[in-house]
């Protein structure tokens, strides 16, 4: 017997998947926390201070992934804007969700980096190329959010999408800057000079997986929220049209 996919069964399946995903994320995060704080040995020169690294590196790296999602969603929005407005709205919802997560992850990356730099370097902040461009990325996505807020509803999506393309050009510059200029930021630890010892890998990987799963979860939630808001707007617009038709009749 073929299974019927009514909206309610689809919703139940989705709800179960989300619940499962949330539970799995929490489990992975707990394992990651245990690895990072209790199991992995302290690093030779920095001691326990280095444990913030398991949070800093993951957030900082994932903070560079969400801008790409934002850029692709924005490009998709610009492509579908005239061709298929409904698909364009979905792309725009992805763009909002990933922009907000970019701000969140980059903020956490910046704050944990600052907390680490003070004991390790002796200064809270160094204006070297990588830190500067990373701060710039944060500023760009805050500017993106402000653009969305300031723009009138009809054109806000398009202007934000255009700005996103400008912002996304900045991300490769951020990543390349470490090799362009000699900087104070530690060399890439996953490859290159500051290679990480085998012992530390479990803490890095579990935490990376955990925060990536958490990011994906929040991204999907924010997307669903934005879609709901769009539907409510469409409904309101439809009712307004119907009401005006009632008046003219």
């Amino acid at each position: 017997m073929a299974m019927q996919t009514t909206p309610s069964t689809r919703r139940n399946v989705l709800r179960a998947a989300i619940l499962f995903w949330t539970a799995a994320t929490l489990v992975v995060l707990v394992i990651g926390f245990r690895e990072a704080i209790f199991l992995v040995p302290a690093e030779a020169t920095m001691g326990n201070l280095q444990r913030i690294f398991y949070y800093h590196v993951n957030h900082a790296t994932l903070g560079l992934v969400f801008p790409y999602i934002n850029c692709f969603a924005s490009l998709a929005y610009l492509y579908w804007r005239r061709r298929d407005p409904l698909k364009a709205l979905a792309a725009d919802a992805w763009a909002v969700a990933s922009a907000e997560l970019s701000v969140l992850y980059v903020s956490i990356g910046l704050v944990t980096g600052i907390l680490w730099a003070r004991p390790a370097w002796g200064v809270w902040w160094a204006w070297d190329a990588r830190l500067t461009t990373y701060l710039l990325l944060w500023l760009l996505y805050v500017a993106y959010m402000i653009t969305r807020q300031f723009s009138s509803t009809g054109q806000g999506h398009t202007l934000a999408a255009v700005l996103s393309i400008f912002a996304a050009i900045d991300v490769p510059i951020t990543f390349m800057s470490i090799s362009w200029w000699r900087t104070q930021h530690p060399a890439p630890v996953l490859r290159g000079d500051g290679k990480l010892d085998q012992v530390f890998w479990p803490a890095v990987l579990w935490n990376f997986a955990g925060w990536a799963m958490w990011g994906a979860l929040v991204l999907v939630f924010r997307y669903a929220l934005e879609r709901r808001r769009q539907r409510a707007d469409q409904q309101a617009a439809l009712e307004a049209i119907e009401a005006s038709l009632e008046l003219t009749r």
């Binding site: 500023l139 653009t147 300031f150 009138s152 255009v162 393309i165």
Partner: protein, 229 residues
């Protein structure tokens, strides 16, 4: 009519408008003069020539950045009056020609301000370049174009938003940070002769690359911004 003719037409129109009113240039000129005076009161430039040489590149570019924001906000407001912008959208000429014409016009205005400001800087800050002064002839136009091309684009982008005057600097300043870094470092390097020529050429190349990249992006996306509804 080919593309170049369209660009020249727009440029001629913008230059003529400015020639008749002189709003943008006068405002920018006086504003940047005030910034120079206020900074010279804050730092005492004649007392300490070495420090002055190190910071004056930054002060010059910040003065120009702030001044160009005041003019760029005006440059599209002209087009909104009497629905000129809607007429431009319906015109058969490509949208990027309108943008390019206006950006080149703004480059002319800001360059004019620089020509007046440069001797004033020398006088007020007791300044002379220790490095290759003629390199400034390369750095100044490249840096100005970096400010103006993005500034013109984002002025158009923020034209129909709620807080037009505020939104332009909020967008322009973060986008301009790499260019600002390059132009300030290059200018300071030329004035102080403290950084080596390889590093100097790297900053100038970065500035040139930034110009090419963002000019391309602005030209490609201007049509979308103009017709965003």
């Amino acid at each position: 009519m080919n593309y170049l003719a369209h660009v020249l037409n727009h440029l001629r129109k913008d230059l003529r408008l400015e020639w008749r009113s002189r709003d943008a240039v006068n405002g920018m000129l006086f504003f940047s003069l005030l910034v120079v005076v206020v900074f010279s009161l804050a730092f005492d430039p004649t007392g300490n020539p070495t420090t002055t040489r190190q910071i004056s590149g930054g002060i010059l570019w910040i003065a120009l950045l702030f001044a160009s924001v005041t003019a760029l906000n005006q440059s599209w407001t002209r087009e909104v009056r009497n629905s000129v912008l809607d007429a431009q959208r319906m015109a058969p000429s490509p949208p990027s020609a309108l943008f390019l014409g206006k950006a080149i016009a703004n480059l002319c205005f800001v360059s004019l301000v620089e020509l007046v400001l440069a001797p004033l800087f020398v006088v007020f800050y007791n300044l002379h370049a220790l490095g290759n002064g003629w390199l400034l002839l390369l750095v100044m136009p490249l840096g100005t174009w970096a400010l103006v091309v993005n500034g013109t684009f984002f002025a158009a982008l923020s034209l129909r938003s709620k807080n037009r005057e505020l939104l332009l600097p909020l967008l322009l300043f973060p986008i301009s940070v790499p260019a600002l870094l390059a132009m300030v470092n290059a200018t300071t390097g030329i004035l102080t002769a403290e950084i080596d020529s390889i590093q100097l050429s790297l900053w100038i190349k970065l500035l040139g690359g930034y110009d090419v990249l963002f000019t391309t992006v602005c030209l490609l996306l201007f049509g979308t911004v103009l017709n965003a509804e």
